[in-house]
């Protein structure tokens, strides 16, 4: 008898749940946190991109000076060093791609631009630049 009562109550509750307006409409998948692989551990939302920000920012400034002084290979070496310091910074790879593109080294430029896009470019200008390199090189 006890079990039967429990079954009856459970049935009532389940029926109420089924009628609830909060139930997801079939066919609409629930989308979770798009940035995380494991929900129990807070993900590094930037995947390490912000590490050593100020150091890399200074390197990028130095790179511009080297390019203005007509020293692109030295600039590339500095950018490669920056990539060792902050390996997930998309703008480092983008800058490498831009330099290689200017040097007409498309096989190197394209790879850098794609890597930059994959790591996530944060500004429209950067995205456009990467796209320009990729499409420009495919035409060459």
């Amino acid at each position: 008898m006890k079990r039967f009562s429990l079954l009856f109550i459970t049935t009532l509750i389940v029926s109420a749940g089924c009628a609830s307006p909060s139930l997801k409409v079939p066919g609409t998948p629930k989308v979770l946190n798009e940035g995380s692989l494991r929900e129990d551990i807070p993900a590094k939302t930037d995947g390490g991109k912000k590490d050593n920000d100020s150091v890399v920012a200074q390197i990028l400034k130095d790179v511009e000076k080297l390019l203005s002084a007509g020293r692109p290979e030295k600039a590339v070496i500095e950018l490669e060093n920056a990539a060792r310091i902050s390996p997930k910074r998309a703008d480092i790879y983008l800058r490498l791609g831009e330099i290689r593109y200017d040097q007409q080294l498309c096989h190197q430029a394209t790879g850098m631009a794609r890597k930059a896009r994959q790591l996530g470019l944060t500004t429209t200008a950067n995205t456009l630049s990467a796209n320009h390199i990729i499409t420009g090189c495919s035409g060459r």
Binding site: P29, G47, V76, P87
Partner: protein
């Protein structure tokens, strides 16, 4: 009669004169011949200079993950001396959470980095600030000079570091001249006074045998002749000395001597010249030697074995003090300095092997990669400087952890010590640079490099290639696709049936694609491979840069032989997010005058589309959470990783290949005789991998979800469900291929059904 006698006498005189002319002509020709030899060999390049190989350098910057202890250790490895206050290059001071050091000048492959006084301030685990002590300003980045890790030697096995006379400290020259050849500036190659003095000293004195040879003669003997003690050799030596002095000035001769003289032996490598001897005995450049240290090196000239400071320290010290006495008597040092320097201990570099090949396995990789671009002779003779990628700190950790783990495993498995062998390759996933390479558990062995030359079946390490091939067909496969795990057999052309089995010999009906890889399911993987065809999988292998191809279905379970290095090349594609970047050990090569010859820049090429590799890596990550590599989740919870275990038949090979955000590593454990180890990939190689990675990796694997991908909850039956459904997994999907049917939570329903059933039973 008298006329006859006169005629005879004249004839004799004529013949004597002719004999004299012939002898003179012969002697003159001989001198011309010797002169030609001297000019031919002494001009231009005078020595076969080995290529010197450097490690990667540390870059110091605010936030750099280098502790105060690590920096101090590195400075000591570089031969820096601890002092109260660093005033000269090569000195450092440690106080509180700061290290001040006076950096040396160093020629990197892209230019000279001048020496300067630097302060580094630390927090517990990293650098807080790098400051130029002269200006007080913070420096953005500072490159510490790399470690010299070995060389590529000429066939003679002579090693040397060339120094110019101008770079040689005066005290070294004075010690040399005052003890070996006081009349060096006055004689013309041979010193009659010196010979007489030596004869007299040897007869009357008990303070040791003195030689009568000048520095010029010693140079001739070492450079052109041998140590034969014959009259003819001595005459030749004297003649050549005079000829040498006719053609070349005292400075040139002295400089050649300083670079030629034999000063010790290190295994098969001979230590030649003061430049190298300074590093070998004192771990510092010649310019940084103290008076006592300079005297110690000069003391070796007379007998590097006899006065070997490692083996005969007392004798070496006595000889050193004799050199100091010569310096005092010649007025080059005063009594105060003499008394102070004679009291000093020898202060020999206790490792004694500063430029020995520290990492033979890595060096053999460097040689292999350089051979593509350089002739063997150039590598051995031109004095090239090679800048490589090895990170000594990481290499050391890998070596220590490997040793500990192997010994522990042998103990547990009741194996004799040394039975198990291993190979390790660790790279930077973003640029392919080799941070560490081990080819033998006997780390200094240069015999067989298992990392690059041991080809072993890779077992389940091949499975990601199968699953990747499938994911490249998103209309047919995704991580929630159900794969059949039903047993089956394949019949070959001889009628033999091959029935792949799961590790636990159980079958699970239908399993998620994700779990097929994460749990390393054999039956599902082979079924999937056969569905895709070996041809398609081979195309994937090709796109991943490997020449290995599958010929038979058994290759789907890894009956495919690869070296750990080849596995690293394969997995580099996964670790980098689908990019192909050559795994490299060399960054750049410059010539002996530091002029750039070749640089190996970063090259990236997208080999696999981003979404396919993201999903693959998701499954490889899942393996570390609840699959065959779940030890990672337990033992290394703070750093996310992804990877694959591999075990071959009979437990002969134990593999793990995996990566975090900043390191990719491949570990192999096995026995050279191919006997069973008793280890699976999870119990063997993986444990070594974890022990190394948790000490070297700082960035977890956590890539951003690509564009047009979402994450969805899926049950084990492949249906989309709610987030709180027991047993559901969260899986990334390409938006355009999302399954739309939502089924509720089967797990919860089935538990409820069971309860209801229980009511009526």
């Amino acid at each position: 009669m008298q006329r006859g006698k006169k005629k005879k006498g004249t004839r004799v005189r004529i013949w004597l004169f002719r004999l004299f002319l012939i002898s003179f002509a012969g002697f003159a020709s001989w001198l011309v011949y010797l002169d030609l030899i001297i000019k031919a060999q002494f001009e231009g390049r005078r020595w076969d200079l080995p290529a010197h190989v450097y490690s990667a350098h540390d870059t110091l910057f605010s936030g750099a993950p280098i502790s105060i202890y690590q920096l101090e250790q590195q400075l000591r490895n570089l031969g820096y001396t601890k002092t109260v206050s660093p005033k000269n290059p090569g000195e450092y001071k440690k106080g509180g959470l700061n290290i001040d050091f006076y950096a040396r000048d160093f020629h990197f492959f892209d230019g000279l980095r001048s020496g300067q006084l630097i302060r580094t301030e630390f927090s517990e685990t990293s650098i807080k600030a790098v400051i130029d002590k002269k200006t007080g300003k913070q420096i953005n980045t500072f490159r510490l000079e790399p470690t010299l890790i070995g060389g590529i030697y000429p066939d003679s096995n002579e090693d040397r570091i060339l120094v110019r006379l101008a770079e040689t400290p005066q005290i070294v020259i004075k010690a040399l001249v005052s003890s070996e050849d006081r009349g060096f500036l006055d004689h013309h190659g041979v010193s009659i006074k010196g010979i007489a003095r030596a004869l007299w000293s040897n007869i009357t004195s008990t303070s040791g045998i003195q030689g009568g040879s000048t520095l010029t003669q010693q140079l001739i003997k070492n450079y052109f002749l041998n140590s034969e003690r014959t009259l003819l050799r001595k005459i030749k030596e004297a003649a050549m000395s005079i000829l040498l002095e006719l053609h070349y000035g005292k400075n040139e001769i002295l400089e050649a001597y300083i670079n030629e003289v034999y000063l010790g032996q290190d295994g098969s490598r001979s230590i030649n010249g003061f430049g190298l001897a300074s590093f070998f005995y004192f771990s510092r450049p010649l310019s940084e030697l103290t008076v006592a240290q300079a005297a110690t090196l000069v003391a070796l000239v007379r007998g590097p074995s006899l006065y070997n400071p490692f083996r005969f320290p007392a004798r070496a010290k006595t000889r050193r003090n004799l050199i100091l006495t010569h310096l005092l008597k010649s007025g080059y040092i005063d009594r105060k300095v003499f008394e102070k320097e004679t009291e000093k201990p020898l202060h020999i570099n206790s490792g004694g092997k500063h430029h020995e090949n520290l990492y033979p396995a890595f060096l053999s990789l460097v040689r292999q990669q350089l051979k593509r671009d350089y002739r063997s002779d150039d590598l051995k003779k031109e004095g090239l400087r090679v800048f490589t990628t090895i990170v000594p700190r990481i290499q050391t950790i890998a070596e220590i952890k490997l040793k500990q783990q192997l010994e522990g495993m042998e103990k547990r498995l009741d194996l004799k010590r040394g039975e198990l062998q291993a190979a390790i390759v660790i790279t930077n996933p973003d640029n392919g640079e080799v941070s560490s390479l081990i080819g033998d558990r006997n780390l200094r062995q240069d015999a067989f490099n298992r990392a690059i030359n041991a080809f072993r079946p890779i077992g389940s390490l091949i499975k990601p290639v199968i699953y990747l091939t499938a994911l490249k067909q998103p209309e047919k496969f995704n991580l929630a696709t159900l794969l059949s795990d039903e047993p089956f057999g394949l019949t070959d052309e001889n009628g033999l049936v091959w029935q792949p089995q799961n590790f636990d010999h159980k079958s699970r009906g239908k399993i998620l694609f994700l779990k097929g890889l994460a749990d390393s399911n054999n039956i599902a993987s082979v079924r999937l491979g056969m569905q895709l065809t070996l041809g398609e999988i081979n195309e994937t292998l090709k796109s991943l840069g490997t020449k290995k191809q599958m010929e038979y279905p058994s290759a789907l379970l890894g009956a495919l032989e690869m070296s750990p290095f080849q596995v690293a090349e394969l997995y580099q594609h996964f670790a980098s997010g689908g990019f192909s970047t050559p795994i490299q050990s060399v960054l750049a090569v410059v010539d002996r005058k530091n002029r750039p010859i070749k640089r190996y820049p970063l090259i990236l090429k997208q080999a696999v589309d981003e979404k396919s590799v993201f999903q693959l890596n998701f499954a490889l990550h899942h393996a570390t959470v609840s699959g065959t590599a779940r030890s990672i989740g337990l033992l290394m919870p703070k750093i996310e990783a992804a990877g694959k275990t591999g075990t071959t038949d009979g437990l002969r090979d134990s593999w793990f290949a995996g990566f975090t955000g900043d390191r990719m590593g491949v570990v192999w454990v096995g026995r050279d005789k191919n006997e069973p180890t008793g280890l699976t990939g999870a119990t063997g190689a993986l444990q070594i991998w974890i022990d190394i990675m948790k000490n070297i990796s700082r960035l977890g694997y956590n890539p951003a979800l690509p564009e047009n991908m979402v994450t969805i909850n899926v049950e084990n039956n492949g249906n989309v469900t709610e987030s709180n459904c027991p047993g559901a997994v969260t899986i990334p999907f390409r938006k355009e291929y999302i399954r739309e049917r939502m089924s509720g939570c089967t797990q919860r329903k089935s538990k409820l059904l069971k309860w209801i059933k229980g009511v009526f039973e």
